[in-house]
């Protein structure tokens, strides 16, 4: 119990430290690296909650590939973020009020891992038993993801596919067709005149 508390306090402190330095920094590369570190700490937090699959995804996607993609996209950005001259009072106030409401509401949440929590009583027992009897796969997460919730995962895959196609359509510079390339024509005309 006490070790769990120490680990959680350590992770939360680390997260807060990263978040504050994220707010302070103006350099874009620092922002990218700190976001990656934040994702890594979030992955550690998921591990303490025994959500190994989510932790794995967060570590590989959040801390790994998205950092690389940000770094690849960073070449087209200015090195430093512009300084924000507007007053920060109202945004800070709304953040503090929202955070306070969330913390206040969190007291009504059932304890983590409580077997009688409402979410563990509705459909989860069916999934856990079914994963053993109907599907025969030890990892319940996979059987929910691919079989019970196959539709949702299909939707996710199509979303990833569409995102890839959309970025390709935006960034892919295919050579302009000849009839649209007027600059050459103008040059020729200009020389003759």
């Amino acid at each position: 119990m006490i070790t769990e508390l120490i680990i959680n306090a350590f992770l939360v402190t680390l997260m807060m430290g990263i978040a504050i330095s994220l707010l302070k920094t103006r350099s874009v590369i620092f922002t990218v690296i700190l976001t990656s570190a934040y994702s890594l700490v979030a992955a550690l937090m998921f591990i303490t909650l025994d959500a190994v699959d989510v932790a794995f995804t967060e570590a590989s996607v959040g801390a790994g590939i998205s950092t690389i993609l940000f770094l690849a996209a960073m070449a087209y950005l200015p090195k430093e973020e512009e300084k924000n001259l507007n007053s920060q009072f109202l945004p800070a106030l709304s953040c503090i009020i929202l955070g306070a409401i969330l913390i206040w509401c969190s007291y009504d949440l059932p304890e983590i891992g409580l077997a009688t929590a409402p979410i563990h009583l509705h459909i989860v027992p069916d999934y856990i038993l079914g994963s053993k009897n109907d599907i025969g796969i030890p990892n319940v997460v996979t059987s929910i993801l691919a079989s019970y919730r196959g539709y949702d995962t299909f939707g996710e895959t199509v979303v990833v596919f569409t995102a890839g196609i959309a970025v390709l359509a935006l960034l892919k510079n295919t050579k302009t067709p000849k009839y649209q390339n007027k600059s050459k024509f103008k040059k020729k005309v200009g020389k003759n005149v």
């Binding site: 190994v52 699959d53 932790a55 794995f56 995804t57 590989s60 996607v61 790994g64 590939i65 690389i68 993609l69 690849a72 996209a73 070449a75 087209y76 109907d134 599907i135 025969g136 796969i137 030890p138 990892n139 997460v141 996979t142 059987s143 993801l145 691919a146 079989s147 196959g150 539709y151 995962t153 299909f154 996710e156 895959t157 199509v158 990833v160 596919f161 995102a163 890839g164 196609i165 970025v167 390709l168 960034l171 892919k172 510079n173």
Partner: protein, 141 residues
């Protein structure tokens, strides 16, 4: 391309183990943590590492753009195809029971195929995202 021999040799040594780990995560997802999404990202990271160290042109030689785009679409198509197959076999969309000799082996087979489709799409989307970000200026010129 980096001239540093340590980077180049390490990349060559690491390339195969990264892909092997990706395949392990892909096909071991039924028994341990992992699955198509994570495996796709890991496999993509191997190709991206190769592109970073040896240059985008060499990376495109390793995985030509046509094949990349073909596999990108094929993954989603495999997923949809499994769903359509179960309709043809007389069951609702994406219920895998009739794919094997009994319901359980059908479920195993269906989940394996579906996860493979997810892995293909995710890895190729990530590679093509990196290629289009990194090669934006390259294509323009």
């Amino acid at each position: 391309m980096y001239k540093n021999p340590i980077l180049r040799i390490c990349t060559k040594i690491l390339f195969a183990p990264i892909i092997l780990f990706g395949l392990y995560v892909q096909f071991h997802g039924d028994f341990g943590p992992g699955g198509g999404f994570q495996a796709g990202v890991i496999v993509a990271s191997a190709f991206i590492l190769y592109s970073i160290v040896f240059g985008l042109r060499e990376g495109k030689k390793l995985l030509p753009e046509k094949i990349n785009l073909f596999l990108l679409a094929l993954g989603a198509l495999i997923y949809a195809g499994v769903g359509i197959t179960s309709i043809i076999l007389g069951e609702p969309f994406l219920s895998y029971n009739s794919l094997g000799t009994n319901a359980q082996s059908g479920q195993h087979f269906g989940i394996l195929l579906v996860e493979f489709g997810v892995g293909l799409t995710v890895s190729n989307v990530m590679i093509s995202l990196f290629n289009s970000f990194a090669g934006y200026e390259l294509d323009k010129g």
